[in-house]
């Protein structure tokens, strides 16, 4: 699209001349795409590692685990996303979206997961995009994660939150699980309304189904704790007002 039309008309073989221009254009584009894909893969892999790290959380190592996760997440931003940003500078972000979308989605998943664990709230798109701004050369338009990738990442987040909730319940942190449950329900409700408006919504549709499954898995786990916990009270009284009836350490 950005091809300049030089004076090719006087060329003895205009077709060959034109195609050498096309070739240059395609080579540059493909090389860039290849590098963007590579960056995206690295982002994916390292974001996944952050997620695995978050799942290593347990009742008493929270701060330590999260601190490491956040450090790793920051490293993803500094090392890999910055590379992506550099590559994309001066390009139409939408042109190469399919090349970097998987990585960006996974990063959104990791970043929102970390943020939820730390603050209990949803990390907004604006906040992520603000942190991206600092990476770019101020003279050019900075890379902005688009709404679609953000929402797709959010959809995957609920799966990780489900895993987290099941883990927390095993660890006796029912309150935490309940908080996750409320949060995931809220996201589901919002996405329910927004999903059909998204471009290429078929992808999102199957993610919605998975999401509902995740919500119900958390609800079932909470239910199970609740009915089991109900038996605890008659035996030992209800002086323990926290929701943490369950878990090996608490039954002491």
């Amino acid at each position: 699209r950005s091809l300049t039309t030089s004076a090719a008309d006087s060329d003895p073989n205009p077709m060959k001349h034109a195609f050498s221009k096309y070739a240059t254009y395609l080579n540059d584009l493909n090389d860039k795409r290849e590098r963007v894909v590579k960056a995206s893969r690295d982002i994916t892999m390292n974001s996944k590692k952050v997620i695995f790290q978050v799942h290593r959380i347990s009742k008493h190592n929270k701060d330590e685990v999260l601190e490491k996760a956040e450090k790793d997440l920051a490293a993803v931003m500094d090392q890999y996303i910055s590379r992506l940003v550099k590559e994309l500078q001066g390009t139409d972000f939408w042109k190469l979206r399919r090349a970097y979308s998987p990585g960006v989605q996974e990063y959104v998943e990791a970043a929102t997961l970390c943020n939820f664990c730390k603050t209990g709230a949803l990390l907004n798109l604006d906040e992520i995009n603000a942190s991206l701004q600092t990476l770019s050369d101020p003279s050019v338009e900075p890379l902005q994660i688009n709404v679609l990738d953000y929402l797709l990442g959010l959809a995957d987040l609920t799966g990780e939150l489900m895993r987290l909730a099941i883990g927390r319940i095993s660890d006796g942190e029912l309150e935490y699980a309940q908080k996750i449950c409320t949060f995931v329900r809220e996201i589901y409700r919002e996405l329910l309304l927004i999903a059909p408006k998204m471009e290429d919504s078929s992808d999102m549709k199957s993610k919605m189904d998975t999401m509902l499954q995740s919500v119900m898995k958390i609800e079932n786990a909470c239910f199970s704790v609740r009915v089991r916990g109900s038996e605890y009270i008659p035996f030992l009284g209800s002086e323990d007002t926290s929701f943490s009836w369950l878990g090996a350490s608490n039954a002491e």
Partner: protein, 229 residues
């Protein structure tokens, strides 16, 4: 509540983009319809109608198309920097247009319609709303797919020089395409198909030559003629 507020903003943004796409879809349908008319006129070439007559009628649609692309450009200009967000919605229509224009151009000049020429015909400006190069190239591949049929029908109608001309063009075009470093995508697949077009035209050329029907005077042609006539 910031969470809700954020999603409200998203709702609006996505609704706006939905409306935009609806409008694009409308224009794309009109483009498709104009292309269909153009193609209908062009199809008569396979029934050996004289080229100028066929081209005249087909050319009539170019003005219509130019206006429709101007309309598209205007719509897209409303959301700057998002050309490629919506690009998929008029992509295949554009490829068909290019394919027809290139065929018409070949009939007239026996040379390839270049990218810049295609943009000019459609009144597109590279800097604002241009013709994507991959779309252009895909359109050229589509054109190539129609050439074997054209050659077959021309020979049937007695035009024995056509295979030679098309073969020369297609050989050059195929060689030019091979300069490109194509990814494993749609365009690559279409280009892979060009091989079969080339092969078919070679076969027709062979048929004509071995029967001494290719009468035009270069040495190789004479050689065959000499031996069989």
């Amino acid at each position: 509540h910031t969470l809700e507020k954020q999603f409200e903003v998203f709702q609006h943004k996505l609704s706006d983009s939905g409306t935009l796409r609806e409008r694009i879809r409308g224009v794309a349908l009109e483009i498709e319809s104009a292309t269909r008319l153009m193609q209908s006129s062009l199809l008569l070439i396979h029934q050996s109608r004289p080229i100028p007559e066929v081209l005249e009628k087909a050319n009539g649609q170019i003005v219509v198309l130019r206006e429709l692309f101007a309309k598209l450009a205007e719509i897209i200009s409303e959301s700057p920097g998002q050309y490629y967000r919506y690009h998929g919605d008029w992509r295949s229509e554009t490829q068909s247009v290019v394919s027809l224009l290139a065929f018409m151009h070949w009939l007239e000049t026996e040379s390839l319609l270049l990218h810049a020429e295609a943009e000019e015909k459609l009144g597109l400006k590279s800097s604002e709303f241009g013709l994507d190069i991959e779309d252009y190239l895909t359109g050229i591949c589509f054109m190539s797919n129609d050439l074997p049929r054209y050659v077959v029908n021309q020979v049937t109608a007695g035009d024995y020089d056509c295979p030679r001309k098309v073969l020369k063009f297609l050989t050059d075009l195929h060689a030019a395409f091979r300069m490109l470093n194509l990814r494993n995508d749609f365009l690559r697949k279409k280009f892979d198909g060009m091989k079969y077009d080339l092969r078919r035209v070679e076969e027709v050329h062979y048929d004509v030559k071995i029967r001494g029907l290719a009468t035009s005077g270069n040495s190789t042609a004479e050689q065959v003629d000499g031996e069989t006539s």
